[in-house]
């Protein structure tokens, strides 16, 4: 991988599309066509989601989040998150791996935007505490939910993010005009799908070991809620249903940026939503307000 030169990359990336026009409307279908949006806007949208995931896993694995260097100048605050107690050795290693992956994604996307003559956005305000409580209430899990309270709860928290990340990249990647950036986005999409499968496999595995389906049921309640907010695009989790994909062709779901925003903002479909849920002050960048 390291063989190709950065000079070549820089020269190639210099000619890429740049952020200049506003995003088009997101559409509302379950299998959306690619949107006509500048690559850097898409990358900044993805960067917000990677900040969210990186903060979640870093805090779960280590108790502290992104460094001020990684969060960039002018970064917002993060509410909630703590080292999960009671991880087995294997679970700790899983959490560490995903934390490192999401941190690397933050850095890689920042770097790519800069090389593409754009400006990476700083970390927006992120709220885990209130968002997970609100999500639990809306999903019918209960009035509060702390994903940092136990290994099982952590897996449900991870479940909230991973499949959404996959659908976001699956939806956004085809819209990317630069071939190298498309390739990188596909590479990140794959990593998110590995994570998603890992989390789903661990959830059913842990349920089998403990002879307790509680947390798989929570995950499916979360899935139902995501489906309501994000245009369907969900597959129930069970031992015989690990992959999230459409039942006809076994192709992963793609979500529009609007559908992703409604999930992370924890709001019902509709135009003009610009904040809520995990992002109390909205995303940073030009893709932050729903068009539908």
């Amino acid at each position: 991988m390291a063989g190709a030169g950065t000079t070549a990359a820089a020269a190639f990336l210099a000619g890429c599309s740049k952020s200049s026009t506003p995003p088009s409307s997101g559409g509302g279908t379950t299998t959306p066509p690619p949107q006509d949006v500048p690559d850097n806007d898409i990358l900044n949208f993805a960067l917000n989601l990677e900040y969210l995931e990186a903060e979640f896993y870093l805090r779960a694995a280590t108790g502290s989040g992104l460094s001020s260097t990684d969060a960039l100048s002018g970064a917002g605050t993060v509410t909630g998150g703590a080292a999960v107690q009671g991880f087995s050795t294997a679970m700790q290693q899983y959490a560490v791996e995903i934390a490192q992956d999401e941190l690397n994604h933050v850095r890689a996307i920042q770097e790519t935007i800069s090389k593409n003559s754009g400006t990476p956005v700083a970390r927006p305000n992120i709220d885990f505490t209130n968002a997970f409580n609100a999500l639990a209430a809306a999903a019918g899990i209960g009035s509060s939910f702390d994903p940092f309270s136990s290994p099982s709860a952590f897996l449900v928290g991870a479940f909230v993010f991973e499949d959404v990340g996959v659908t976001a990249y699956t939806g956004a990647a085809p819209a990317i005009t630069n071939t190298d950036i498309l390739s990188a986005a596909a590479g990140i999409q794959a990593v998110e799908a590995y994570h998603a499968a890992e989390i789903r496999t661990l959830l059913v595995g842990m349920a089998a070991t403990n002879k307790d389906q509680t947390y798989v049921n929570y995950a499916n309640q979360v899935s139902a809620l995501r489906g309501k907010l994000g245009g369907g695009n969900e597959t129930m989790l069970s031992v015989s249903s690990i992959v999230a994909a459409d039942t006809t062709n076994a192709i992963a779901f793609a979500r529009t940026t609007d559908q992703v925003l409604h999930i992370v903002y924890a709001t019902a479909p509709g135009a003009g939503v610009k904040s809520g849920g995990f992002f109390p002050n909205g995303l940073n960048g030009s893709i932050s307000t729903t068009a539908s």
Binding site: M1, L58, Q100, H105, A190, A197, E198, I251
Partner: protein, 325 residues
């Protein structure tokens, strides 16, 4: 021969580990560097047919594992001969039997994957219509033995023998499928229909790979027995896809593009590598999945050099059908 190869594999593994310990920051300058290989223009039809060959292979493997029959003999058959072209044959060990699964979850995963890979075959056949190719000859017997030799696993390997060997067999395919769709994505010209579908299948292959790798790691349970096998397979794939342009004995693994299941130390948000991490995800040091050119994928599935003018062998003894072969 085997000794030399084993040494090369060891060097690939250790250099890969060395690379990992450098951490993301040290390699940040390399982020998103484009692949050096240039590919001649290929049509979307060529790419989809290339994918169809790989999906035939995966669908046959999983359906044989769970049902004991080829996909054209399933209760709801999936055709292997389309558009009037004869299908190839599937070579299996004498007295082949489906996998005697002892672990219900593994059997359930196998069944799910079998169904999904079958759907990929049907989808691609439908998308290609009159341009779809038939199934080429597929070898699921001598192929695994040959690969076992290359990987330094011994003279034979039967993926249909047990839950564990089935998972290893699945491991051989899934990460390759991910890297193949990844590499092909940038070549696709139809960005409105074909690219989204390819990107969606790519994600499903990565789900499968994540499922298989998580399951193997759980079954390994810290003993290293299965994980060591995955390291050797990953090293073999890496070597097949990136042979040294000079003597094979000088191969250093600098282009290694695969990692097996192991543990490695990472630094996370600190400055020293003090956290033990798993390697469930098959990705580079920037946590980006690897993409492979069609030539590299052909090299892995046929055991040939990526630069060969035609690729035949291992899983595809007569080569692939279509224009990318």
């Amino acid at each position: 021969m085997a000794n030399t190869e084993t040494k090369q594999l060891d060097s690939i593994i250790s250099s890969r580990r060395a690379l990992l310990t450098l951490g993301g920051a040290a390699l940040a300058g390399l982020a998103f560097a484009p692949r050096a290989e240039a590919q001649s223009a290929v049509s979307d039809t060529d790419i989809l047919n290339f994918a169809l060959n790989l999906e035939y292979l995966e669908a046959q493997f999983y359906n044989l594992a769970v049902s004991g029959v080829t996909i054209d003999k399933l209760p709801t058959p999936i055709p292997v001969s389309v558009n009037g072209a004869a299908a190839g044959t599937v070579t299996l060990k004498p007295s082949f039997m489906k996998v005697p699964f002892a672990l219900p979850p593994i059997q359930a995963y196998a069944m799910e994957t079998a169904i999904e890979e079958g759907k990929h075959v049907s989808f691609l056949q439908g998308a290609l219509g009159t341009a779809a190719v038939s199934m080429p000859d597929i070898d699921l017997y001598n192929s695994f033995n040959a690969l076992a030799m290359v990987a330094g696993l011994g003279s034979s390997f039967d993926p249909f023998a047990s839950d564990a060997t089935f998972l290893i067999g699945a491991y051989i395919f899934e990460d390759v499928g991910v890297s193949a769709y990844h590499g092909a994505a940038g070549l696709i010209k139809d960005k409105k229909t074909i690219l989204p579908a390819a990107v969606g299948i790519h994600a499903v292959e990565a789900y499968h790979a994540g499922l298989v790798r998580t399951s193997i790691n759980a079954l390994d349970a810290g003993t290293g027995t299965l994980n060591t096998i995955t390291q050797k397979i990953s090293a073999a794939r890496s070597m097949l896809a990136n042979p040294s342009s000079a003597s094979t004995t000088t191969y250093t693994g600098s282009k290694a593009d695969d990692i097996g299941l192991t543990t490695t130390m990472v630094s996370l948000n600190g400055t020293s590598a003090s956290y033990s991490s798993s390697t469930i995800v098959d990705c580079d040091s920037n946590s980006i999945g690897w993409g492979r050119t069609t030539s590299q994928v052909l090299a892995i599935v046929t055991g040939t050099d990526p630069s060969a003018t035609s690729h035949k062998g291992v899983f595809f003894p007569s080569g692939l059908n279509g224009n990318i072969k």
